[in-house]
């Protein structure tokens, strides 16, 4: 089977074939190696590659795989090559559009740091919310214009409530 994988900014072609009981021949962009990969838990694997031993956790949702190797997290997007060929390359497009910025937990708005119409960079602070005993700065996920501010300082917000809309 062949997959197109995305890790960070880079894309890779990953071919895999089970050649024996949980033994795999894997090739990454043509670079071939053999993996002895045992499933040792619901999301846990023991991999031995060239006698190097790795304990891996793989969480999976849809085409996204979060792989934990040696304390480091690898976020891999993996799709069947056949699916890519018929066109599946639009997944990144939404991130540029209109976005609702929210917080997952209820809290109290301490300060609003922007005004409607402001142009903000990616990572620019929008609102400070106190929740779980801490003050948290909610930042802009993208470079955008502030379209609508839905809260003001002193207000209490529910978990998931929209704070700001940016575009």
């Amino acid at each position: 089977m062949a997959f197109i994988a995305k890790l960070g900014e880079q894309s890779y072609r990953v071919e895999i074939e089970e050649t024996g009981k949980s033994v795999y021949r894997v090739s990454v962009d043509g670079n071939e190696f053999v993996v002895d990969g045992k499933k040792t838990g619901r999301t846990n694997y023991s991999l031995i590659v060239d006698n190097r031993s790795f304990e891996i956790e793989v969480d999976n949702a849809e085409d996204e795989y979060r792989v934990l190797v040696d304390g480091r997290s690898y976020h891999v997007h993996l799709v069947d090559e056949r699916r890519v060929r018929v066109g599946d390359g639009q997944s990144d497009s939404q991130i540029q559009g209109r976005q609702r910025v929210s917080v997952p937990m209820p809290g109290k708005v301490i300060a609003v740091l922007v005004a409607e119409g402001d142009v903000v960079e990616k990572g620019h602070g929008l609102v400070i919310v106190e929740a779980m005993k801490m003050e948290n700065e909610v930042r802009s996920p993208i470079a955008a214009t502030v379209k609508d501010i839905r809260v003001k300082a002193g207000e209490t917000v529910e978990g998931g409530a929209v704070l700001v809309i940016i575009e």
């Binding site: 089977m1 994988a5 795999y24 790795f54 999976n60 040696d70 801490m134």
Partner: protein
């Protein structure tokens, strides 16, 4: 001895107190808010009582409800843990009035030490050095300016009732006084309903050292040596150790003696902590006294070998402290890392949710104080600290290397944590050499780089592909075996569904 204790707290500290009680053959009474019915501290306790809705103000902070449960459950004593009502003088007084043993000092002492200006005055009178500053309360910009003349710039303008990094401003020059005065006064009024202010000299790049105290009702006071908790982020403590790397032995002995002096002056009973700032000339200044167990008490327990919770209980029950100062020695070195449900890649935003997977590190020299379990929900209402990990070593280097090894074994899935951030601290050369102050993280930490470094790129890609293959294979197998054993499959599936239905399932993509 006490036979039944109510624990007016939740999370890891409630579990930790339950364990101590169990080792003393004392029954425990847990209280829980609506958000905590399935929390670990409820499962571990002998008795459990609901105390109201999720917000703390209506549950863990509700004195009436907690006293009500204490009476109903016939608990003879209440252990407040830390946070919530632990430093609430009114609660301590109420316990006393109701004939319930409060495991902590008297309400008078809590009151005195809670008022930063009064605490300064008492300590100063007892010969404990305090940070130079105002002798009393400052009521006007004018008074602040006058005090500033004597103390010198820069200084800190602070609210008497302040705490947790709120109600204070650094003032570097005279022209900053008016705006700082207005800001702190209004913060103090709105956050603490107490507009009183005072001034303290600003100590440059201080280290934060504290002394653990134990005192019984019969006048015996001992100190259990020092801890350092200079590694903090926005006044949130991250990592603590004992002994304090910032102290030499002479200063260590002096600060211990002086802490006992201060404790006696207050008439303290129980376990408490005196916090000091240590300046770059190794001069130390009393900062405040915490009249309760500290989060980081475990590092002291490990190096001196005394169970502080048991000591608290014995003192509260009227027992004599069995130790004299000469019995107390520090052996080796202990470090504590706090494990927070938070996202270090997103400005340390709290990250509540369901813990899908949990594996604690084990082996020599480790202690896990963990308040959650696999499948537990980290509620959105409370502190995001879910666990503590303490390592011990023959010396500081071994304790650090062991902590690194342990953090490598630590796995929390379903939520994000600061485990990698802790590793970053432990690998930092300045931390290794002990050369740091409270501003260490601000000075050194740039957000954990998103320039992706992928030392095991091939392994990760192969793992994802194997998992994908498994998924594919299982889907096929499932469809094939479907008919054969339908009922039992559905049974197991249903079980899992109902488990998930117990709380919102949180994906890792946010």
């Amino acid at each position: 001895m006490l036979r039944r204790i109510l624990i007016a707290n939740r999370g890891e500290i409630a579990v930790r107190i339950t364990r101590a009680c169990r080792e003393l053959d004392i029954e425990t009474v847990a209280v829980y808010s609506e958000a905590d019915r399935e929390s670990l501290h409820v499962k571990y306790a002998d008795h459990a009582y609901p105390i109201g809705p999720a917000p703390s103000a209506q549950s863990y902070l509700s004195i009436d409800r907690i006293i009500g449960v204490a009476k109903k459950s016939r608990a003879e004593a209440i252990h407040p843990g830390y946070g919530f009502l632990a430093e609430n003088a009114g609660f301590a007084q109420r316990c006393k009035d109701e004939g319930i043993v409060f495991i902590g000092p008297s309400s008078q002492v809590i009151d005195q030490m809670g008022d930063k200006v009064k605490a300064r005055q008492i300590m100063k009178a007892a010969g404990v050095p305090v940070v130079p500053g105002s002798d009393g309360i400052l009521n006007s910009e004018q008074e602040v300016l006058q005090t500033a003349e004597a103390v010198g710039y820069p200084f800190m303008l602070k609210a008497v009732a302040g705490g947790g990094g709120k109600g204070l401003r650094l003032v570097r020059a005279q022209r900053e006084v008016p705006s700082a005065f207005r800001a702190v006064r209004s913060e103090a009024a709105s956050s603490f309903a107490d507009p009183r202010l005072y001034v303290e000299k600003f100590i440059e790049r201080p280290r934060h050292v504290e002394i653990q105290i134990l005192a019984d009702k019969y006048g015996r006071v001992i100190h259990l040596y020092d801890r350092e908790r200079s590694i903090q982020r926005r006044h949130q403590k991250v990592l603590e150790e004992s002994p304090a790397p910032g102290l030499d032995d002479r200063t260590r002995r002096r600060i211990g003696r002086i802490a006992i002096q201060g404790t006696r002056a207050v008439g303290y009973v129980g376990a408490g902590t005196l916090e000091f700032l240590l300046d770059q000339e190794k001069k130390f200044y009393f900062l405040e006294m915490n009249t309760r167990l500290q989060v980081e008490h475990a590092v002291t327990e490990r190096v001196v070998g005394i169970d502080l919770v048991k000591a608290q209980i014995e003192v509260a029950a009227g027992g004599y402290l069995p130790w004299r100062q000469r019995h107390i020695t520090q052996t080796g070195h202990a470090i504590e890392c706090r494990i927070y449900a938070e996202d270090p890649e997103n400005d340390f935003m709290p990250y509540p949710g369901r813990i899908e997977g949990l594996r604690l590190p084990e082996g020599m020299g480790l202690r896990n104080d963990c308040g959650v379990y696999e499948g537990a929900e980290v509620p959105i209402y409370y502190d995001p600290m879910i666990a503590k990990l303490i390592t011990w070593g023959e010396n500081r280097v071994e304790a650090i290397l062991r902590m690194r090894r342990a953090l490598r074994e630590y796995q929390v899935r379903g939520i994000k944590t600061n485990i990698a951030f802790n590793q970053w601290i432990l690998r930092h050369p300045r931390f290794m050499s002990g050369d740091f102050s409270t501003s260490f993280i601000d000075e050194e930490y740039r957000r954990i780089s998103k320039d992706e470094v992928y030392p095991h790129k091939e392994i990760a890609l192969a793992s994802a592909a194997i998992a994908a293959l498994h998924r594919e294979h299982e889907r096929t197998m499932g469809l094939l075996t479907k008919k054969a054993n339908e009922p039992s499959q559905w049974r197991d599936q249903g079980k899992r569904d109902s488990l998930r239905a117990a709380g919102p399932r949180r994906g890792w993509k946010r």
